[in-house]
């Protein structure tokens, strides 16, 4: 197998095909084609979770995970933006606890814009978007402290979590909060399923902004993503079949995957 520090021709072809499918789906959706999205319970529960906090008159806590700015955190911020709009329209306070100082200004701006978009700019409190600590466990304890002191009715844990996921979710549960989590980290998903009321797993995490906003561009991208997934599944099945019937030196798919650039 060759190194994948740079793409070989098969990777170029595969990436180009997948990107073309996604962009084509986006363009089709923008031109008005109706696209179906299946129901995702974890994302549907967001509205119920915000409603619970509104009814109880208590705040919401949101954590965008531990990572600095990357695609996982950007998706978490997109979900945050939606939740803030929803909460702001119902005059419900939301507290955001951050681990990465790099994410801090982006999260603050995102929350401020969401309050503006909801028509409640006066309800935005800068101290509700808080940098807690860049140390993993100090962050977890700081976040649990906020949940306990502010008596949050709902906790949203969306983003990249590691060993501290259980500290956050188990304490949140003990404090009686309704918890919705989403994490693309396969090792943490079982912990979140055991401790949270609703969990968004795997690629559902990246479907969140499309599912929640139902904007044609995002919906098209989501449908394109599903078509790409079907292609990847077909490739896996082809690979399994070829590996079963052909010797490794005659397996052309193996040669393509590791072939020269």
């Amino acid at each position: 197998m060759g190194s994948l520090e740079h793409a070989n021709w098969f990777m170029r072809l595969l990436f180009l095909s997948l990107c073309t499918i996604i962009v084509a789906s986006v363009l089709l959706a923008q031109r008005g084609r109706e696209m179906f999205i299946r129901r995702i319970p974890g994302l549907t529960a967001i509205e119920e979770a915000v409603g619970r906090a509104t009814e109880m008159g208590r705040p919401i806590f949101f954590s965008p995970g531990l990572d600095s700015i990357n695609i996982v955190t950007l998706q978490a911020l997109a979900i945050l933006s939606y939740i803030v709009r929803l909460a702001a329209s119902r005059a419900t306070r939301i507290i955001v606890g951050l681990r990465s100082p790099t994410v801090f200004p982006i999260a603050e701006e995102s929350v401020r814009e969401a309050y503006d978009a909801a028509g409640r700019p006066e309800n935005f409190r800068p101290e509700d978007v808080r940098f807690i600590s860049d140390e993993q466990f100090a962050y977890a304890l700081g976040a649990v402290g906020i949940m306990a002191r502010e008596e949050t009715a709902t906790n949203f844990l969306f983003g990249a979590f590691y060993a501290e996921s259980l500290i956050l979710a188990e304490n949140g549960r003990a404090l009686g909060a309704l918890q919705v989590a989403g994490c693309p980290e396969p090792t943490q998903i079982p912990f979140l399923i055991a401790t949270c009321d609703y969990v968004v797993i795997g690629d559902e995490y990246y479907a969140a902004s499309a599912y929640l906003t139902r904007e044609p561009t995002l919906t098209g991208s989501l449908v394109g993503q599903d078509i790409c997934k079907a292609i990847v599944i077909a490739l896996i099945l082809l690979g399994v079949g070829l590996a079963t019937i052909l010797a490794p030196d005659r397996n052309f798919l193996l040669t393509w995957l590791g072939g020269g650039g």
Binding site: L18, L77, P101, P105, F131, R149, E170, A194, Q225
Partner: protein, 282 residues
């Protein structure tokens, strides 16, 4: 390459440490002036287009570097040599935001202390801890102790050791060890036999856990290791569950995540993620 030569001519290496600090001060001041100027001169629409442009160029740079054909040994293309300087630049930008994080902490705890809110003593502890670590951390750094350190350490170094290795590190370790109890309580809830799925999970967990401990191996040690029934020894069965049931499921999830991340990356790169970071879709 002409661009490299131009950069080297414009920014020659600092001849002395003092000149390096001067260059850094100028670079910092220049960056602040540039950011303030852009903030003042560009309206919301202009700022949005600037973000779109910078995002596209950054994505194009990393994408091209990965996909453009490579030559030579080590294999590289015309952009590979720029990966490290650009990554360093991103690290520097990230490091500058630490100041914003500290400002946020000071703001929240300063207000709690000034207004004597409930729990204000925690905020006081925060300020004391921050200043103590800052002062003794810097002091210890600039002592320039020889290696190996002397038997009798200077007192600022002793205070730093107490604060870091005597307080901070044990607190981290204590928090980490709490996980054992949280795992036990979460596992108890997850494995309660209430539904078919929970029963299946309980059975799988039981096999895997027993397969990992000597007691489990002892339980089925009566099955000869070289017999056809050796598969039913608990350590073999546990390994089979992990390798042939758990790993494919995890890989399936990872494939889905990778495709989702690709779609999300495309949306961010082409600024299609409207209604979240950039603007409402018109």
């Amino acid at each position: 390459m002409w661009f490299s030569r131009l950069l080297q001519r414009l920014f020659p290496p600092a001849p002395t440490p003092a000149a390096l600090y001067l260059y850094l001060a100028f670079a910092l001041a220049g960056s602040i002036v540039l950011i303030v100027a852009l903030h003042r001169l560009l309206g919301p629409r202009g700022r949005r287009w600037l973000i779109v442009f910078v995002t596209f160029i950054a994505g194009l740079f990393f994408g091209l570097e990965y996909f453009y054909p490579v030559h030579g040994d080590p294999e590289k293309n015309f952009l590979t040599d720029w990966i490290e300087p650009v990554s360093v630049m991103l690290t520097v930008v990230g490091a500058l935001t630490v100041g914003l994080g500290i400002y946020s902490l000071f703001q929240v705890h300063g207000r709690a202390l000034a207004q004597r809110r409930p729990g204000w003593h925690n905020s006081l502890a925060f300020f004391l801890a921050t200043f103590a670590m800052l002062v003794f951390g810097l002091w210890e750094h600039y002592l320039h102790l020889p290696q190996p350190p002397p038997d009798v350490l200077p007192w600022p170094k002793v205070v730093y050791e107490i604060l870091f290795n005597g307080l901070f590190a044990p607190l981290q370790a204590a928090t980490f060890s709490l996980l054992a109890f949280y795992i036990a309580s979460a596992a108890y809830r997850a494995f309660r036999v209430r539904t078919g799925e929970a029963t299946l999970m309980m059975a799988a967990a039981f096999i895997v856990m027993l397969g990992q401990v000597p007691f489990g191996a002892w339980l089925t040690s009566f099955i000869p290791a070289d017999s056809p029934a050796a598969f039913f020894r608990l350590e073999m069965l546990g390994e089979w569950v992990l390798r042939w049931l758990n790993t494919p499921a995890q890989r399936g999830i990872i494939f889905g995540i990778a495709v989702g991340a690709l779609a999300m990356s495309l949306r961010i790169w082409l600024s299609l993620e409207r209604g979240t970071f950039f603007s409402e879709q018109s």
